[in-house]
């Protein structure tokens, strides 16, 4: 039967369940710190983190805002850069074979290792942070867009060809649409990486942002602050992820999921 219970279908559950999950996770974390008597300087309990957060809520949120902005800028940029690259890759097998090694090489570089380099090149502004986000998250976007477009059924491609569609039309009227669900999968992977990218970017030469906080607090043994920052980061990442899920729901009503 394809019927579902009201609970699975309801909007309330779509919001309440993730929150329950989150609370469960935090509960587990709390329990673990108590049961294993984890010292606070290693892993502070959620309580410690909350206390630390309440000491400087404005400062923490401001820094989170900085990271969020970089994340979103870099993420959008990587869509703008990644999708056209994917188009090229799908368009020509030769180009694909020439371009992939380059992408792989760039992608294989541990970003932490080149963060300082970016600063030396681009200074201490937002530039290198946004670039870092881009570097972190463009690859999943490129690859899932490309694979999605390549998996367009031959039948539909032939339809467009028989209608004498130009290659451009083939991409924008067919392949991109067909690939949408897979593109969203790529975006969902990318968004988490984007968040991390902003943090890694802020490890070097930043004076604000959650990455800066983590860096500073790590070195001042203010573990609670580091965890408060990481928690904010996780929340940011979760919100962005569910934002994408929502967007997918709104934009792709035709993409049926089967369970």
């Amino acid at each position: 039967m394809t019927k579902r219970s009201w609970w699975t279908e309801s909007r309330a559950s779509a919001v309440l369940l993730p929150i329950t999950g989150l609370i469960a996770v935090i509960g587990l974390w709390w329990l673990a710190t108590i049961v294993f008597a984890v010292p606070e300087f290693l892993v502070p309990s959620p309580g410690d983190v909350l206390v630390r957060f309440s000491q400087d809520p404005v400062m923490l949120l401001q820094n989170a805002g900085v990271s969020l902005l970089e994340t979103i800028q870099g993420f959008l940029l990587s869509i703008v850069v990644g999708v056209p690259i994917a188009l090229l890759i799908v368009r020509s097998a030769i180009l694909e074979r020439l371009v992939y090694p380059l992408l792989l090489m760039v992608n294989a570089i541990p970003k932490v290792a080149i963060a300082p380099l970016l600063v030396v090149w681009m200074g201490f502004g937002q530039g290198p942070k946004v670039l870092m986000v881009l570097l972190m998250c463009f690859f999943p976007i490129v690859i899932s867009t490309a694979q999605g477009m390549k998996s367009t059924p031959v039948e539909l491609v032939e339809l467009l060809r028989s209608l004498n569609a130009s290659r451009t039309q083939e991409f924008f009227k067919l392949r991109i649409w067909h690939a949408m669900p897979q593109i969203f999968t790529g975006l969902k992977v990318a968004i988490s990486l984007a968040v991390i990218g902003s943090v890694i970017g802020e490890f070097v030469g930043a004076t604000q942002g959650l990455g800066y906080l983590i860096q500073t607090s790590g070195a001042t043994a203010d573990t609670a602050l580091a965890f408060a920052a990481i928690t904010l980061l996780s929340i940011m990442s979760i919100i962005l992820f569910y934002g994408l899920v929502l967007l997918e729901h709104l934009l792709l009503p035709w993409a049926q999921e089967s369970r």
């Binding site: 010292p39 300087f41 201490f124 070097v204 030469g205 070195a219 043994a221 203010d222």
Partner: protein, 316 residues
């Protein structure tokens, strides 16, 4: 933000400055100079950015992203021995090295001899690790019998207090942090290198070689302002920590104050009469010799002038 980029709105010259690492209490003096307007009086509009360790600071200064920076003199020398980066030192912050091996009570380390057979956590390539062979020689132990475990600086206190390592490479000013990190409240055991290696300097002021050559007056004015901040910070560590807190809200004033107090003896010039920040060419030569001896640099490969622009160093 290059050296001759004049004419901002306020008529001040925009200058960027890198701390040696992060924004700890030990870096407070720059903020003191900023807060008290010493930089402004000298004609500078200074932007302070946290650095990421000596080598990164050197690269950023050499690459033109920063005009001045702070780095450990030994690390600077070793790096210059390997790579001719266009940087030079124009003054000292620490007249004695802050390098030390730090342990906690009850871990079996009370004196240098106890280091044998122990695990010491440290950042690869740090001053502490690189000069350890010399230190070992001076305290008459075999450096090969001490096992260095590489780990990044932020992880060191955690590794130590969980007993994964029995000692860590740390600056003496880092001791309050180590003690704060240990929730069992154990006291730190400190083996400072300066006790047996009085020749070594600590942090030095770096700038680009061409700036030092083309704009010596500017450099002198800048170091003057910075050292004035250092002087104030040493005279009243608590006030300096408060100033730091203003700029870096995450600062723990207590720890910062303690750091500055611990740092104080190391900033005092060894030759009485020398001003704050002075450089002694003979000592520089001695350091080069020591590093050559341990193969940290090619023996005879560097001359003091390659490392220091002595003409710009503060003099009495």
């Amino acid at each position: 933000n290059s050296g001759d980029d004049k004419g901002s709105d306020s008529g001040l010259q925009k200058v960027s400055y890198l701390t040696s690492f992060g924004q700890f209490g030990r870096e407070a003096y720059a903020y003191v100079a900023l807060e008290k307007g010493y930089f402004k009086d000298a004609g500078f509009d200074v932007q302070i950015t946290p650095g990421n360790g000596t080598v990164e600071v050197m690269k950023q200064v050499a690459g033109g992203q920063a005009d001045y920076g702070i780095g450990d003199f030994t690390a600077i020398t070793i790096t210059l021995g390997k790579q001719k980066l266009p940087v030079t030192t124009v003054g000292m912050i620490h007249q004695k090295s802050l390098a030390a091996i730090v342990s906690l009570e009850g871990m079996g380390i009370k004196e240098p001899k106890d280091l044998v057979g122990k695990n010491i956590g440290d950042q690869p390539g740090s001053t502490n690790q690189v000069t350890f062979p010399v230190y070992a020689q001076r305290v008459k132990i075999d450096d090969k019998l001490v096992n260095f475990v590489p780990a990044p600086p932020p992880a060191l206190p955690q590794l130590l207090s969980t007993g994964k390592v029995q000692g860590i490479g740390q600056f003496v000013v880092g001791v309050p942090l180590v003690e704060k990190a240990d929730k069992e409240g154990r006291k730190a055991v400190v083996l400072p290198y300066a006790a047996v290696l009085p020749e070594l300097y600590g942090n030095a002021i770096l700038t680009r070689a061409d700036v030092a050559k083309d704009h010596p007056d500017q450099v002198k004015k800048f170091t003057g302002a910075l050292l004035k901040g250092l002087d104030d910070a040493m005279k009243d560590p608590a006030a300096a920590a408060e100033i730091l807190k203003k700029y870096v809200p995450t600062t723990d004033v207590g720890v910062a104050t303690k750091e500055l107090e611990l740092m104080k003896p190391n900033t005092v010039p060894t030759n009485s009469g020398d001003p704050l920040g002075a450089v002694d060419l003979d000592r520089v030569q001695k350091i080069l010799d020591i590093l050559g001896e341990t193969k940290a640099i090619t023996p005879g490969g560097l001359k003091p002038a390659d490392v220091v622009t002595i003409t710009l160093a503060p003099k009495g």
